[in-house]
């Protein structure tokens, strides 16, 4: 036998196998269509399971992406350093300096991988404007570096500059929600407000940032930290600060540098714990990513139980199909169908059935997420492609797993018994 002959034989074999699997799929669809009521009810389990997978994954992904973007928006290169004092220390060491401006200055000058730094003072103050009554507003005392570190920019007026910080000017930058709180509009720019009975000139309005986990980011006012220290002198000894690394790659070095400088300054010996804490934004992001993955997999696990139930339904209907078509199996065997051919035919049918259910589930999932996305206060949600692939893969897998036993039952039927079956 020459090579060409062998090739053409191989070609025939491949073409034959292809034709057979094509025929199997066609037969499967014909069978499903012929028993469409039964098939639909059977696949309902798979449909519901896949719909649940698609929507759950889309929601988790959508909210997760929303949160991640939010956290990214705050900047991922910065860390917040705060004095970590125990309850005991707080009582006994009243007035003792834990962390102050000199620490901040030392970190600024001695840490090469820190590019920006700002003290960060925070409290709630009474803010009043004209006739409106005083309102509790979160107030931050920072320097001009804060806007770059945290991506807080003004879109009307200006942020306060180094000079304002230097001379502890009575200037304030307000968030959009504060305008609403004080019942005024952007014309407040240039006007004066009362903050804790001190007159401040409004020099800038912050661009809107929206809310994060129910926390309105625009409900804030910012003043130079020097001014804040004059108003609240006790804050001098427990000063927090924000430090931004040169890039995301050097955050680890920057953190180590801060730790070294502060331990040295605070006279801590080896073995003594830090009297300060450092929390990093990128760590938060990573932690959050972990939580998100766990949440998604737990939900997916719960949902796959319903897929199991759907699979059992498919197994059931396949058993019915095999026993209804026993004579057909006998005929197929008598005209040359081998066990594996019969097995493959019924397996194909189970897979087509479950995958069709999966496809319907995906479609319903799409519709549901789209409908949910139309709600104005809903975060942006999309169906991730991988979840579609996963859902279809899982439903096809369920078809294989739950179709194997009925298909095997069909395959091992004896042709004579099958042909005699009534």
């Amino acid at each position: 036998m020459n090579t060409a002959g062998r090739l053409s034989r191989a070609g025939h074999a491949v073409a034959g196998a292809a034709a057979r699997s094509g025929q199997n799929i066609l037969t499967a669809f014909a069978q499903i269509w012929a028993n469409r009521g039964r098939s639909f009810l059977t696949t309902l389990g798979v449909i519901i399971a896949v719909t649940a997978i698609i929507t759950v994954v889309s929601f988790v992904e959508g909210f997760g992406r929303y949160m991640t973007n939010m956290l990214r928006g705050y900047g991922t290169q910065y860390m917040i350093v705060w004095p970590d004092i125990s309850w005991e220390q707080e009582i006994t060491g009243i007035g003792r300096i834990i962390m102050d401006e000199r620490d901040v200055e030392a970190v600024r000058t001695e840490c090469p991988d820190i590019q920006r730094i700002t003290p960060f003072l925070f409290t709630e103050t009474q803010v009043a404007y004209r006739k409106s009554s005083a309102k509790q507003v979160p107030t931050r005392g920072v320097t001009e570096a804060y806007q770059v570190i945290r991506n807080y920019y003004v879109d009307k007026g200006r942020f306060f500059g180094p000079m304002d910080v230097e001379k502890a000017a009575d200037v304030v930058v307000v968030g959009r929600s504060v305008l609403k709180l004080l019942q005024c509009d952007e014309s407040i720019l240039g006007d004066f407000v009362q903050i804790a009975d001190r007159r401040f000139r409004v020099i800038g309005i912050l661009e809107p940032k929206g809310s994060f986990m129910g926390d309105d980011q625009d409900e804030t006012v910012m003043i130079p930290y020097t001014t804040m220290l004059q108003m609240f002198p006790q804050m001098r000894t427990t000063m927090r600060f924000l430090a931004e690394a040169r890039s995301e790659e050097v955050i680890d070095q920057a953190e180590a540098q801060i730790r070294r400088v502060l331990r040295q300054r605070h006279g801590l010996t080896i073995g003594q714990p830090d009297d300060f804490g450092i929390s990093r934004q990128d760590q938060m992001l990573r932690e959050f990513g972990k939580v998100r993955t766990i949440a998604a997999s737990v939900l997916a696990g719960i949902v796959s139980i319903s897929l199991l139930v759907g699979g059992i339904g498919i197994m059931n209907v396949m058993f019915v199909s095999v026993s209804e078509r026993t004579r057909e199996i006998g005929l197929r065997k008598s005209v040359g169908g081998r066990r594996r051919d019969i097995m493959l035919q019924f397996l194909t049918e189970a897979v087509v059935l479950s995958t069709t259910g999966g496809a319907i589930g995906v479609a319903i999932g799409y519709v549901l997420t789209h409908m949910a996305g139309m709600h104005p206060q809903m975060v942006d949600i999309n169906v991730p492609l991988w979840s579609v692939a996963l859902a279809l893969g899982f439903s096809a897998g369920a078809g294989v797993i739950f179709g194997v036993i009925p298909a095997f039952k069909a395959a091992i039927l004896h042709p004579i018994d099958a042909l005699r079956h009534e």
């Binding site: 036998m1 002959g5 062998r6 053409s8 034989r9 025939h12 074999a13 073409a15 034959g16 196998a17 034709a19 057979r20 025929q23 014909a30 012929a34 004579r327 057909e328 006998g330 005929l331 197929r332 065997k333 008598s334 005209v335 040359g336 169908g337 081998r338 066990r339 594996r340 051919d341 004896h414 042709p415 004579i416 042909l419």
Partner: protein, 285 residues
């Protein structure tokens, strides 16, 4: 392989032509079987089939020896319980004997595996059933293509159409079984049996579900196929049908009770113009 197949096909062709000529001078009797120069297609030697029903053993076949040659037209008869169905199942490679030997085209098939038997069924045997056994919701053409698909033969569509043409149903290729009459259904079934050009056509009560006029039509198709060189075995209990064949094998109690030429067979087997020379085959020889 393809070349081999071609070679087989041409050999089969030669064989048919040869047997057609030989048939004219064929002298069929048990003693002088050696004179028969036609190729042996089926050779049973002392076949036994024992079933176990509960704790009892049922001897369905008790030593059947039978030879069927190329291009014979054989009826297998017998009352129910005679082992007729068992014989047919073994003949069609649907089942294997408990003991004894079955040579099909010179190959021992009594100990083959399930998938090897399936291959033989697909390539060498064409079944025709009493209940037609067409796939519902499937066109006549697709039904005829079914064995070709399992045999992985090329040009399935053309072959299937040619087979439908031979039974005179080319114009009904696109019809589904529920759009066909009983006779047409059986003709589609015959086309399906013919499609892969089998060595034997094995029909189990092919006219059992048809009225006598339609049954006659079906038998005419078998006659034509026989005339073109096809080997045909028909299992039946109707003497009329059996008489249209050339050789009648009757089973009783799992053994061959008689193996004779029918009147028609005698007429054809006799030397030209001398029907009185055609003897009957000895019973149970």
């Amino acid at each position: 392989m393809r070349r081999t197949r071609k070679r087989q096909a041409s050999r089969r062709e030669q064989r048919r032509t040869a047997t057609f000529l030989q048939r004219r001078t064929f002298w069929h009797d048990g003693q002088s079987a050696m004179q028969d120069t036609r190729e042996k297609l089926i050779e049973f030697r002392d076949l036994q089939k024992i079933y176990r029903v509960g704790t009892e053993l049922v001897h369905a076949l008790r030593g059947v020896s039978l030879t069927i040659h190329q291009n014979e037209y054989v009826a297998i008869m017998g009352p129910s319980g005679s082992g007729k169905s068992t014989l047919m199942n073994i003949l069609g490679c649907l089942d294997i004997p408990t003991s004894g030997s079955y040579l099909l085209n010179g190959t021992e098939v009594s100990h083959l595996s399930q998938s090897a038997l399936a291959r033989i069924r697909g390539r060498q045997i064409g079944f025709v059933f009493q209940n037609f056994e067409l796939l519902p919701r499937t066109t006549a053409l697709k039904n005829v293509q079914l064995p070709l698909m399992y045999a992985m033969l090329p040009r399935r569509r053309q072959r299937a159409l040619a087979a439908l043409e031979r039974v005179g149903l080319a114009d009904r290729a696109k019809h589904r079984p529920n759009q066909l009459s009983g006779g047409q259904k059986q003709r589609v079934a015959i086309a399906r049996a013919l499609a892969q050009e089998p060595d034997i056509i094995l029909a189990d009560e092919p006219t059992g579900n048809l009225d006598s006029a339609t049954g006659n039509e079906i038998m005419s198709i078998f006659d034509e196929l026989y005339a073109s060189g096809q080997t045909i075995i028909i299992v039946t209990h109707e003497p009329d049908i059996a008489q249209r064949c050339h050789r009648i094998v009757t089973l009783r109690d799992g053994m061959i009770a008689s193996d004779i030429l029918s009147e028609r067979g005698r007429a054809e087997a006799a030397p030209e113009g001398r029907p009185e020379f055609a003897p009957a085959v000895g019973a149970g020889a």
